[in-house]
């Protein structure tokens, strides 16, 4: 159903809600995916940011500052987040099932994946991931953190 394309670009709109904050934080930008495991999330506004994942290497540059490189293998929590995004794009159901309990609902035209992390360290942070889409396109991603914080992203091709 997904992952049939070698490269894919899309724009996104994101809304994060935190228990610690009185208002949601919104941002917009675009996504780039290249097979098999390259993912870029470029945020344009309100704060420029560039997140690149290549294999297990995650590099993050916030607002023109220094680039932080993180090893996903050493960070199961982050890895779960990345896998949740990259798995559906790559169409790599096996990779998804390694990291999550996967429940599929809906039809090919309007599907939904409910992911629950398996790694206990990841589960401490991330309660569930809900992804929905139609055909080969991912439309919405909702991340629910263990503390109730949420991150909602809608994607336009």
């Amino acid at each position: 159903m997904m992952g049939s394309v070698a490269e894919r670009r899309a724009t996104f709109h994101e809304e994060r809600r935190f228990a610690a904050l009185t208002e949601p934080l919104e941002s917009t930008g675009h996504l780039l995916y290249r097979r098999p495991d390259h993912l870029e999330k470029i945020t344009d506004a309100p704060q420029a940011e560039r997140l690149v994942v290549d294999g297990d290497r995650l590099s993050l540059t916030v607002a023109g500052g220094p680039t932080h490189v993180t090893d996903l293998a050493a960070q199961p929590e982050l890895r779960a987040l990345v896998d949740a995004m990259r798995g559906p794009l790559a169409g790599d159901t096996a990779a998804l099932e390694r990291a999550f309990k996967v429940a599929v609902r809906g039809t090919k035209a309007a599907w939904r994946l409910d992911l629950t992390p398996i790694d206990p360290r990841a589960a401490k942070l991330l309660t569930e991931v809900r992804i929905s889409g139609s055909g080969p396109t991912m439309r919405e991603v909702l991340l629910v953190q263990a503390n109730g914080d949420t991150q909602y992203m809608s994607i336009e091709p």
Partner: protein, 815 residues
């Protein structure tokens, strides 16, 4: 009846020889079963000259770092390497033989993280009163909001809200340190190539050979059961070196013992064609090994494998004595008559050969002294047994060389001596060439004398670099009466180290105080923490204009409250944790004092570093200054005042080496004088002394030239091997130089010496094929030296034949 009588006679003749050999063998077996054989190579190296160097050398031998094993796996696709690496790591952990197995898990365990997080305000260098003022907190909150907007939001929620000043991340940064390791599929990989990396530390000490053998077997087993396919396992580290050196040496010693014995027996068979002669020759040789091993065991408390290997090779020299005795006997001659004919040359040869070994005995290099004692005792014993025990046996069995008497070949060969001036040519060439290139190349790096092959050392450096493990070559040793004193002293050095890093003199420094500050420092930080109610008020002021809820920082305030009554974290609190394992090599008790070595990374200019450190009050323990340093510096009251010492191991070791080389030169000079005196007394005629010594000096010159030509850098080892060459060369020259010999005796001498030379060549040639560098160097030098010694002794030491010698030679055959 008659045949039976003959058999009885033969038995009566043979019985004493066989009986004596039986006694010698029983003695040898008895001694070998009693002695303690050591194979660890570090026992062979000298102790350091200064207290700090001794400490570092001893730490390098016995410290917890010695159990470190660096493992690399390469030669397969990355995914496959990662799978093998994970499987090996699992196998090693399950074996229970390793205190630490690291190769891909998170850099910091949850348990450690919780400990670090709880103590963050005491451990972090960021804690100060200024960090908790309203402006500082406001800046922290703005930064935190930016992080919440970013993809790092989960981390900001997890750590940032509970710790806006960022104390935890700062403290953790010190523990993790900069590392270039990549992680792929849960396995560590080298930064620049497809090689999986693992780091293990054995529970057994590095020099605990059985413990290391077990650990090594566990690694090989774990690798084999991981279905490695075509992948290659690489291992390095002090323990691996010790194990490999010990293995190589055992193989070498066994092989030398067996092969040289066989070769010598074959040669003797070819020469004498009599099993009884071989048995007789074996009597002094076997007893000499037994006595030498016994004496070394008594003097040194153990026999080193290298001494045993070398000693067995000394067979090639000590076997000369019985061969000379039997080879020179005329059939039917009495013991006294043979002794009388060869006596002066024989005794002088034994004395000079033994004197030649004095340089080794007194070299002060523990391993070499043992070799020297083993060889000297072996030579003397072989000579004594040959002189006192062998002749009666030989007479009883009526043993003598088969082809006694002169032959036509003698004259032809001796005629070569008319060309002896031509023989000077290689000597002049060698001397001229050596002089022109400014002498032979000298080895000034003790590391190259290390028993560890250069390839293994290169692999170690490579894996260390890839893993980011510090090298132990450059250290600042900090000492104190307890662990807290060491930590306080290290803290005083941190500004200096930061300055050195800024100057580019070092890339970094790994020290205990950066991981775990002293209790004093922790208490000072604790005192800087604000009252929780005051902090809550300041936070309210700080979040004005920012979208944080009033309740957002409850956990932060609670943590500060808890920290204000928290006891400082002490080294003992970390024991048994992975952090403890990281801290132990950097902070430990030794010799009633606490030691905190600071490993300096990326030192490019030790001389400039020493100057910069001296400006900062750190004493340099190097060639230039340590002569003036107080020898009782370690653990003395002086240590309390100035307990930071810079140790450049490379310089220190070079210095040690040059000290030993100078000493070896001195002994070479002394033994030269002694040999000269012995020759002057023994030979009377100055012309003969000159010819004998000249041939030996010529052989040594040519040997040095040949070694240099082959690209060898001469070291202490070669120097003592040259002494051995001198001893052997004197042997030959003295026998050739004997006066008033008839042709028959000259033929016996030539034959016998050729036999001796061939035996030396065979045994030391075997040594040259060893894997143990030390033995290889000695073998190479002696084999090369023995051949030239034989040639020059024949040419220069023997009498020059009168004109028309070929005819005289053949005439003598009839006369």
């Amino acid at each position: 009846m008659k045949r039976g009588h003959q058999r009885a006679v033969a038995w009566r003749q043979a019985a004493p020889v066989l009986g004596a050999l039986g006694v010698a063998i029983v003695l040898l077996v008895g001694v070998l079963s009693r002695i303690e054989v050591h194979t660890d190579m570090l026992a062979f190296l000298p102790a350091g000259e200064t207290p700090a160097a001794r400490l570092v050398l001893r730490e390098a031998r016995e410290g917890s770092a010695t159990g470190l094993i660096l493992i690399g796996i390469d030669g397969a696709p990355v995914a496959e390497l990662a799978r093998i690496s994970r499987s090996v790591a699992g196998g090693l952990t399950r074996s229970g033989l390793f205190a630490v197995v690291a190769g891909g898990q998170a850099a910091i365990s949850e348990q450690d993280e919780a400990l670090l997080f709880a103590h963050r305000y005491l451990l972090s260098p960021t804690t100060s009163e200024a960090a908790f003022t309203v402006p500082a907190l406001h800046a922290d909150l703005e930064r935190l909001l930016g992080q919440l907007r970013s993809s790092a939001a989960p981390l900001a929620v997890r750590y940032g809200l509970r710790d806006p000043p960022g104390a935890f991340l700062a403290a953790m940064g010190s523990w993790i340190g900069p590392s270039r390791i990549r992680t792929i599929d849960g396995a560590w990989f080298a930064p620049d190539r497809d090689r999986a990396l693992l780091l293990a530390r054995t529970r057994a000490g590095g020099m605990d050979v059985p413990g290391q053998e077990a650990a090594s077997a566990a690694i090989e087993h774990a690798f084999a059961t991981a279905n490695p396919g075509g992948a290659r396992l690489l291992e390095a580290g002090p323990a691996v070196f010790a194990r490999d050196a010990a293995r190589a040496m055992r193989t070498d010693v066994h092989r030398i013992a067996i092969v040289s014995t066989l070769l010598v027996i074959l040669l003797l068979w070819w020469r004498f064609r009599s099993p009884l002669v071989i048995a007789a020759i074996a009597v002094p040789v076997v007893s000499s090994i037994a006595v030498a091993a016994l004496v070394v065991q008594i003097v040194f408390g153990a026999v080193h494998g290298v001494a045993l290997g070398f000693g067995v090779t000394m067979l090639g020299v000590s076997v000369d004595y019985p061969v000379l005795m039997i080879g020179h006997r005329k059939s039917g001659e009495t013991a006294a008559a043979t002794r009388a004919r060869i006596g002066p040359a024989f005794i002088l040869a034994v004395i000079t050969a033994t004197l030649g070994l004095t340089a080794m005995v007194f070299s002060g290099f523990p391993g070499l002294s043992q070799l020297g004692v083993f060889s000297a005792i072996g030579l003397i014993t072989a000579a004594m047994v040959t002189w006192f025990v062998l002749p009666p046996l030989v007479v009883a069995a009526n043993l003598a060389p088969v082809a006694a008497g002169s032959a036509a070949w003698l004259g032809r060969i001796e005629a070569l001596r008319r060309w002896r001036l031509v023989g000077l040519l290689p000597v002049v060439l060698a001397a001229g060439w050596l002089a022109a290139r400014g002498g032979p190349a000298w080895e000034d790096d003790l590391e190259n004398l290390s028993p560890v092959p250069a390839a293994s050392r290169a692999l170690d450096a490579e894996l260390r670099g890839e893993l980011g493990a510090p090298d132990v070559g450059q250290l600042v040793v900090v000492q104190g009466e307890d662990d807290q004193a060491v930590l306080r002293r290290q803290e005083a050095l941190i500004p200096l180290l930061d300055h050195l890093k800024a100057e580019g003199l070092i890339d970094g420094a790994d020290l205990a105080a950066r991981l775990l500050p002293s209790a004093t420092t922790q208490e000072a930080r604790r005192a800087a923490l604000p009252d929780p109610d005051v902090l809550a008020e300041r936070l309210d002021a700080a979040r004005v204009g920012l979208p944080f809820r009033p309740t957002a920082f409850g956990a932060f305030v609670a943590a500060v409250r808890a920290s204000r009554s928290m006891a400082p974290l002490l080294p003992a609190d970390l024991s048994g944790t992975p952090f403890g394992a990281r801290l132990t090599p950097l902070l430990f008790a030794r010799d009633a004092a606490w030691q905190g070595p600071i490993a300096l990374q990326g030192v490019r200019n030790p001389a400039r570093l020493a100057v910069a450190l001296a400006d900062g009050g750190v004493v340099t323990d190097g060639v230039a200054t340590h002569r003036e340093a107080d020898p009782g510096l370690v653990g003395s009251p002086a240590a309390a005042r100035n307990a930071a010492i810079y140790v450049d191991m490379r310089a220190e070791l070079s210095h040690i080496l040059s000290g030993y080389t100078a000493r070896a030169w001195r002994w070479l000079g002394w033994s030269g004088v002694l040999v000269l005196a012995a020759l002057a007394v023994g030979l009377h005629a100055p012309a003969r002394v000159l010819r004998v010594l000249g041939s030996v000096v010529a052989a040594m010159l040519v040997t040095v030239a040949v070694l240099t030509l082959l690209g060898t850098r001469l070291s202490l080892i070669h120097l003592v091997a040259l002494q051995l060459v001198a001893g052997v060369g004197l042997d030959y020259a003295l026998f050739f130089a004997r006066r008033q010999l008839d042709a028959e005796e000259r033929a016996r001498t030539l034959r016998t010496l050729v036999t001796c030379n061939a035996m030396t060549l065979l045994t030391f040639g075997m040594l040259a094929a060893c894997q143990t560098p030390l033995l290889r160097d000695i073998g190479m030098t002696v084999a090369c030296g023995a051949v030239s010694a034989m040639g020059f002794a024949f040419l220069f030491a023997g009498e020059r034949p009168a004109t028309g010698v070929p005819r005289t030679g053949s005439n003598e055959r009839f006369g």
